[in-house]
């Protein structure tokens, strides 16, 4: 086993990895930019070393400085967490060349899964189902419509060079095909200078289901069940769960086999996730592979009892997996909520400020993966997630009841946050009965009802306001409602948009 590793990340995931290492008696080095000096993860590690960089983000992305810190301080391996350098094939390679073990897959696996078209080709070869489509240029519309009919309407047209929704069009029927195709081509050439447009089957409000796998360097692969990550706002996950309500044993077994085939197809080592779209007929299609530990890995840990981060380090140190497929017992149900400082009644607009009081929930079936504390300044330098609240119960209702309770117990004062919104989702019959897909928040969630909840005890609030107005306060407290961003923060706001 390693004596010492470096954790090239920050916040809750840095602490998550430090804990996993500590369980294996491995010392840890935290790196930090000076704006993070007082953050808990810095103190959580055995050692902490500052990295100087022009921007906070740059400190966690400076491959050469990070590798130098590792070398100078005797770290034998680097865990990248998620985000930052975690899916950077060049960094994995640079670690290897520097004689430092990268805790994650080899660079060739990251590389081949990093390219959408490359990944698609590998998956086709491996027999992994992909969204049916056509990936070459169309000139004859009659033929193109025939292909589209083969795929089945509606089809999605998208710019081959594209991304970010530009040049994407949904075509409902054959008559509308040519018009849309030509429009997509115009948009594509305008945006990317290339008018090549692909088509694929359009899957309306699919479920986002992903399979967790882990592999060691001795050819062992284990499937650790699926996660349902369909509840998203602004195409970002907010609630995840395991297992999914819509998979039965047979579908789970088939998806597990496909996931392992996919991992084998790119010689995958370490923990990985294969994302699928699941349509209403329970067909699933390969979306992409995430070659790292996912934000939402805890729900899989809770239903399997397997510690993924700890196993990652063992695998990187060359040990075989500490379990076999037949040892995996899925028991109970688990949810994860991502906690954000955002106002759900104002389009999830981010709020910022200082944490005035924090007491996270605790107790039976409650896990909080967190990196914040009292007085932590919520800024715009990094991803705005504050923490992850995870619950485990004997079944889905038990886990949901524990989530509602934990959300109500989550004492976080200082700014607006999405906790009341999350409570509301967990109290919604549609969600509780399992009727939801990626369209849940935009299409079905009732923001008016949430607003009514906000004011349901307004007599008590008015009494409180009157009391506080008359309270003889020792200190003068300045009202600082929606904190105005100064130009320094403004720059960061612009940075983050990029």
């Amino acid at each position: 086993m390693f004596k010492k590793i470096l954790v090239a990340n920050r916040g809750e995931i840095a602490i998550r990895v430090i804990n996993a290492a500590r369980e294996l008696s491995v010392e840890t080095i935290a790196i930090y930019h000076k704006v993070d000096k007082e953050m808990p993860f810095v103190r959580y590690a055995t050692y902490a070393i500052e990295i100087e960089a022009e921007t906070p983000k740059a400190a966690y992305l400076d491959m050469h400085k990070i590798i130098n810190v590792a070398k100078e301080n005797g770290a034998e391996a680097i865990h990248p967490g998620y985000g930052f350098l975690s899916e950077n094939a060049g960094f994995s390679k640079l670690c290897q060349d520097s004689g430092i073990k990268f805790i994650g897959p080899y660079s060739h696996s990251i590389e081949s899964m990093g390219s959408k078209t490359g990944a698609r080709e590998i998956m086709i070869k491996a027999g992994v189902p992909i969204v049916p489509g056509h990936n070459s240029k169309v000139t004859d519309f009659a033929e193109a419509i025939k292909i589209a009919e083969g795929i089945g309407f509606p089809v999605l047209l998208k710019a081959a060079a594209g991304g970010g929704g530009k040049g994407m069009r949904v075509v409902e029927k054959a008559e509308e095909f040519q018009e849309n195709y030509e429009a997509a081509q115009r948009e594509a050439i305008k945006a990317f200078g290339d008018d090549l447009v692909y088509m694929e089957k359009y899957i309306l409000n699919p479920k986002h289901i992903e399979a967790q796998i882990i592999a060691d360097e001795h050819g062992n692969y284990v499937f650790l069940g699926e996660r349902d990550c369909s509840i998203q706002r602004r195409h970002q996950k907010v609630i995840e769960e395991a297992p999914s309500t819509v998979l039965d044993e047979d579908l789970r077994a088939r998806m597990g086999k496909v996931a392992i085939d996919a991992a084998k197809a790119c010689n995958y080592v370490n923990a990985g996730t294969i994302e699928f779209l699941l349509d209403i007929n329970k067909n699933f299609y390969f979306l992409e592979m995430n070659t790292r530990l996912q934000v939402e890995h805890p729900v899989s840990e809770l239903i399997t009892g397997i510690d993924l981060a700890k196993e990652q380090i063992r695998v990187a140190a060359g040990y075989p997996l500490s379990f076999k497929q037949e040892d995996i017992v899925l028991r109970g149900h688990s949810f994860e909520c991502r906690i954000y400082a955002e106002d759900p009644l104002n389009n999830f607009m981010p709020d910022i400020g200082k944490i005035a009081y924090l007491k996270e929930p605790f107790g039976n079936g409650v896990r909080v993966d967190t990196g914040i504390e009292n007085n932590t300044e919520i800024s715009l330098h990094f991803d705005p997630m504050l923490s992850k609240l995870i619950t485990y119960g004997k079944d889905r209702d038990d886990a949901a009841e524990k989530m509602i309770t934990a959300l109500k117990n989550y004492q976080l004062l200082g700014f607006s946050n999405i906790i009341p919104f999350l409570i509301d989702v967990f109290e919604d019959d549609r969600f509780r009965n399992g009727y939801f897909d990626t369209g849940y928040i935009p299409n079905h969630y009732d923001f008016e009802a949430l607003k009514a909840k906000k004011y349901e005890n307004e007599d008590e609030l008015a009494a409180l306001v009157t009391y506080l107005f008359n309270r003889p306060d020792e200190e003068i407290i300045k009202t600082d409602v929606t904190p105005s961003l100064n130009s320094w923060k403004m720059n960061n706001l612009n940075m983050r948009k990029e």
Binding site: S416, F421, A462, A463, T479, V481
Partner: protein, 186 residues
């Protein structure tokens, strides 16, 4: 109006211990009263609330019981405002005594005409995405004059009354701070 104000003053004379307030949120306006000699009891409408402090943390965090029910909150206040953060929500309340409200009405009436605010400000820091009008254009109340984007969210700002665009300070594609003047009407 003068009569109204007189009766109000009389009211205060009769109940010198009770201060009456009008409390206003985005949701509603409520009247409340507090006993100046027992500031732990507040009446809202007909309901009485006993407020007891359980614990204070720092300068702005309070744990209180309202009729024995637990509340935790962060608060701040200024001349006529109390801002509460509790249960994940932020509440912005204005609070004025009844006599203050009455006085303001008189002042308002005594002015020849109600002055409308002709300035459109940015409600948040963001980017000016689109300007839908030009200097000298006649606009109607509710016309969407300018679009501001922040955090991938677009916000169209409407004209507050029928008028004419006097000047446009905003420039498409540039960043603006919160409360930056964007358009002035007349």
């Amino acid at each position: 109006m003068m009569t109204n104000n007189k009766s109000n003053t009389m009211n205060q004379n009769l109940n010198t211990l009770i201060e009456k307030y009008l409390i206003n949120s985005e949701n509603s306006t409520l009247s409340a009263s507090i006993d100046k000699f027992n500031k732990n009891v507040v009446k809202v409408g007909e309901k009485e609330f006993l407020i007891e402090e359980i614990k204070k943390v720092g300068s702005d965090v309070l744990f209180v019981k309202i009729n024995n029910k637990n509340y935790s909150l962060k608060y701040s206040k200024s001349t006529n405002e109390v801002v509460l953060n509790t249960g994940g929500f932020t509440y912005k309340y204005s609070i004025k005594t009844e006599s203050q409200v009455a006085l303001e009405k008189i002042i308002q009436k005594s002015g020849s005409k109600k002055v409308k605010n002709p300035i459109i400000k940015s409600p948040m820091p963001g980017l000016v995405v689109k300007i839908n009008t030009e200097v000298g254009a006649a606009v109607k109340k509710g016309d969407k004059l300018i679009v501001i984007e922040a955090m991938k969210m677009e916000n169209a700002l409407a004209s507050p009354f029928d008028g004419v665009v006097k000047s446009i300070t905003a420039v498409e594609g540039t960043a603006v701070e919160k409360d930056a003047v964007l358009i002035t009407l007349e």
